[in-house]
């Protein structure tokens, strides 16, 4: 029986020890191919008989609409933004991730606290403060980081949307006048922070510069290993849905 833990103390009223499913996080910048990979992974897991719950950033019912509006107007300070994102994160953690794990689901998270920490760090947030803020997050069973070269990111972004995103280009930071230059500088900074986080939190890095199929193969191998560890021997005990 697995049981989970949090980085620090758990949120009030949450018992991580009683959670059984699997929490798998896929991290990576925009246009790194994350969403495609997660969709494929979800289908594959369901085919194999695992119940899957997908979560991501800015999807909570609580604050997502307000955040969208605030971003359009670009009126929130970085700290306010960080706290808004943290509210969104914990809302999903407590209302979606925790119940799904309690029910024995495989939760696929399209990014997690690391992206939020990286974005806040390049905007000047105190690293200790960020670690406190996110200390109640559950420790995932696996974190896979899709690493894609900056050149490739630009190429993919422009191909998909024919324009660069204001926030993903770090335009709020005043790094450069040109969106393209800003994008490159911003992504480089984000990458440096991810590298530190990777050492601290132990992500596994997958080379995202390859074909969709090749990346998916890597992800499946990794997920199989996690699920084998977690669910081995569980079925003799009555299976994941035994206690509802």
């Amino acid at each position: 029986m697995s049981g989970k833990r949090c980085y620090g103390r758990p949120p009030a009223g949450v018992d991580p020890g009683g959670l059984r499913g699997a929490l798998i996080v896929v991290e990576g910048p925009d246009a790194s191919g994350r969403s495609t990979q997660i969709a494929l992974l979800g289908e594959w897991l369901e085919e194999r008989g695992y119940a899957v719950e997908q979560v991501g950033l800015k999807r909570s019912r609580l604050v997502a609409p307000t955040l969208d509006r605030a971003q359009e107007g670009n009126v929130l300070s970085p700290r306010t933004m960080t706290l808004f994102y943290a509210t969104d994160f914990y809302d999903q953690l407590e209302n979606r991730i925790v119940p799904a794990l309690r029910g024995g689901y495989v939760v696929l998270a399209d990014r997690y606290i690391y992206t939020l920490m990286a974005r806040a760090t390049v905007r000047g947030a105190d690293p200790e403060w960020l670690r406190t803020l996110y200390s109640m997050a559950l420790v995932p069973d696996a974190v896979v980081f899709l690493r894609v070269s900056a050149a490739r990111l630009v190429e993919r972004t422009l191909k998909a949307r024919a324009s660069l995103d204001y926030w993903e280009s770090g335009m709020d930071l005043g790094l450069a006048r040109s969106w393209y230059d800003s994008f490159v500088i911003y992504q480089r900074r984000i990458r440096a922070v991810y590298a530190e986080l990777q050492r601290e939190y132990g992500f596994e890095v997958v080379n995202g510069n390859r074909s969709v199929a090749a990346i998916q193969r890597d992800l499946r191998t990794r997920v199989c290993a996690v699920l084998a560890d977690l669910f081995e021997g569980m079925d003799e005990g009555g299976g994941p849905d035994a206690s509802g």
Binding site: T66, R79, T80, T87, W129
Partner: protein, 229 residues
């Protein structure tokens, strides 16, 4: 956006009022504001939970009872950060007297009562300047409850602490919740050096005490508005 590290001396001064609902602190801070304004000083007033931007999300969460102790705490921290960085801090930097109806201690008391970790709460708010004076309006629980319950046929869900499942009866829940909040305030009195006021005395007498303490502890002459040029 650093935390406690960069605490520098600011030209402004910060006065906060804290206490239970029904303690009369809002009345007192309003009268203090009047007086300071009348003296021709640079004063700015800010109220808990009033950031326009964040309000919408807070209201929605409260109406739909979507909030857990953690998200309840974070949404108030978001509101506070927005007001702090947009108004309170700039005003302090510009040399204003800033009056706050509730400050981070309200979060420590209420969220602490809801089960949030006290250490986590204090680190979360470590970016904010501590007030130069924090008035804590102390009164017996029954008096505070009486003042609120008398004029109010219905209590709001979170106000009554119904999310904690203390009691199915909103009035009883409110009683228990306020009792817990009060215990949290009492514990903070020494920790943060509150200036304690007896909130059972007349409004006028309390205000006299408030004004004399403010005049004694702050150099009010420094906050005169510059007249035309």
């Amino acid at each position: 956006m650093s935390a406690a590290g960069a605490r520098r001396e600011l030209p402004g001064r910060l006065v906060a009022v804290e206490g239970l609902d029904g303690s009369g602190k809002s009345t007192q801070v309003r009268l203090l504001h009047r007086w300071l304004d009348g003296l021709g000083l640079k004063v700015f007033f800010s109220e808990w939970n009033s950031s326009v931007l964040v309000k919408e999300a807070t209201r929605k969460g409260k109406r739909r009872q979507l909030l857990t102790p953690t998200t309840f705490s974070l949404i108030h921290a978001t509101d506070f950060a927005d007001r702090y960085e947009r108004q309170i801090l700039p005003m302090l930097e510009a040399g204003y007297l800033v009056l706050c109806d509730r400050y981070m201690f309200t979060a420590f008391a209420r969220d602490g009562m809801r089960g949030c970790d006290p250490g986590w709460l204090r680190r979360l708010y470590a970016f904010a300047h501590p007030p130069d004076i924090t008035f804590y309006f102390r009164l017996p629980l029954e008096t505070a409850l009486g003042r609120i319950l008398a004029g109010r046929p219905r209590l709001k869900w979170f106000e009554a602490g119904m999310d904690l499942g203390l009691s199915a009866d909103p009035r009883e829940s409110f009683r228990l919740f306020q009792g817990g909040v009060m215990a949290q305030y009492e514990r903070m009195t020494d920790e943060f050096g509150f200036t304690v006021l007896d909130a059972t005395r007349s409004i006028h007498r309390q205000q006299e005490v408030v004004r004399s303490i403010v005049a004694e502890r702050l150099d009010l002459a420094r906050f005169r508005q510059r007249r035309g040029r």
